[in-house]
Symmetry: C2
Subunit: 193 residues, 2 copies
DNA sequence: TTAGTTTTGTACTGAACAGTACATAATGGT
DNA sequence: ACCATTATGTACTGTTCAGTACAAAACTAA
């Protein structure tokens, strides 16, 4: 009973996510957003609210996709060690259309916005905690199957692995020596032995 | 033979560095800078050039201080393992007036500016390489003294340690569970065994 | 066809931004 | 004492920013 929307909301949000991912929050202008999303300014405001609300929605979408992707990848691995290796390599590699030089939107947000905005502080912390729980669960399974030592303390090790992954995501933004980064990944998974 | 400068250049640059460290590049306005530095706009421009030049100078100052501080700390340690532990704990702890929630200015720059500005890409990469070399050198000494295994591959391990430190610096910006972070540090130094 | 409703496109708003012109003030050299 | 030179403080520039007013357009229900 009214004029129908001419754009797909989910598709537009995905485009916004991509722009924020590439440029960061502050450096992204509303003109950047509207042109990438293919919509006009009033449509953006009526659908997503202001810039910060849109960013929050884009970040949530990113986190949701990222967590699902990581979980699937972890579960596809034949062993705990292989799972962790796949996870860390996924941060570094260009497979799946992933662009390592963009880092991770949640990590980028942790750096740019978390210190000055409590909402993002919590959101990004929870995101990291959730990934840590996924890794921890993989480690527990590895212990149960006998693959990993029973003396291994899964919470701390999972935390160390995810912290390393955060470091990897950031390091990839400075165009590093890939060989050295891959060797570092090999070192980190030695923690599972 | 002219009116003398009424402010200390080094002190003003330190103040600018602090503001950029706290707020990031984009979110820092020239008014933020002039008020923190205690100088007027034309003095800033005549002394430091434009905003980007000032940031570059502040970043260089930070890197210089940071490298010197880390080197001193590493050399003060009684063993390689103690040195690496001191290094990682230094990223996490609030000692020395350090505020872990600000992270590291070079790491922050890697996230915010490196992807879109080649100069900063290179600068931050070199910074990380330099710290990696310091750690590598500590590891080599540890091997020579017999503290560390001779089979240990110092370049990759040093890289892994610094990447982990980058992850720690970022993680500290999301107000994490400190106990868990410290446990993660304990895991990382297990790589030296 | 028409009334009611929501979206769209254009064009605007005031505020904040980085950077600068210019007059005044403060020094050292002569 | 006075001039050349450099720093300072004020006030301004044009531009870009996030956000919005408004009218035209596109639809449904009756």
């Amino acid at each position: 009973m009214a004029r129908p929307r001419e754009f797909d909301e989910h598709q537009a949000l995905t485009a916004a996510m991509q722009v924020f991912w590439e440029k960061g929050y502050e450096a992204t202008s509303l003109s950047d957003l509207t042109s990438a999303m293919g919509i006009q300014r009033p449509s953006l405001y009526s659908t997503f609210g202001d810039k910060e609300s849109l960013f929050q929605a884009a970040l949530s979408l990113y986190a949701e996709r990222s967590l699902a992707f990581i979980q699937k990848k972890l579960e596809s691995a034949p062993s705990a060690k292989a799972a962790v290796l796949l996870y860390l390599q996924g941060v570094v590699s260009s497979a799946d259309g992933h662009r390592p030089e963009l880092g991770c939107l949640c990590v980028n947000t942790m750096v740019e916005l978390a210190p000055h905005h409590q909402g993002f502080t919590q959101f990004t912390r929870v995101y990291q905690q959730q990934i840590t729980e996924l890794i921890q669960s993989i480690l527990e399974k590895g212990k149960q199957s006998g693959e990993l030592s029973e003396t291994l303390y899964a919470p701390a090790l999972a935390s160390a692995i995810v912290i390393s992954a955060v470091g990897l995501a950031v390091t990839m933004k400075s165009n590093p020596d890939i060989t050295l980064v891959e060797q570092a990944v090999q070192q980190i998974i030695l923690l599972l032995d």
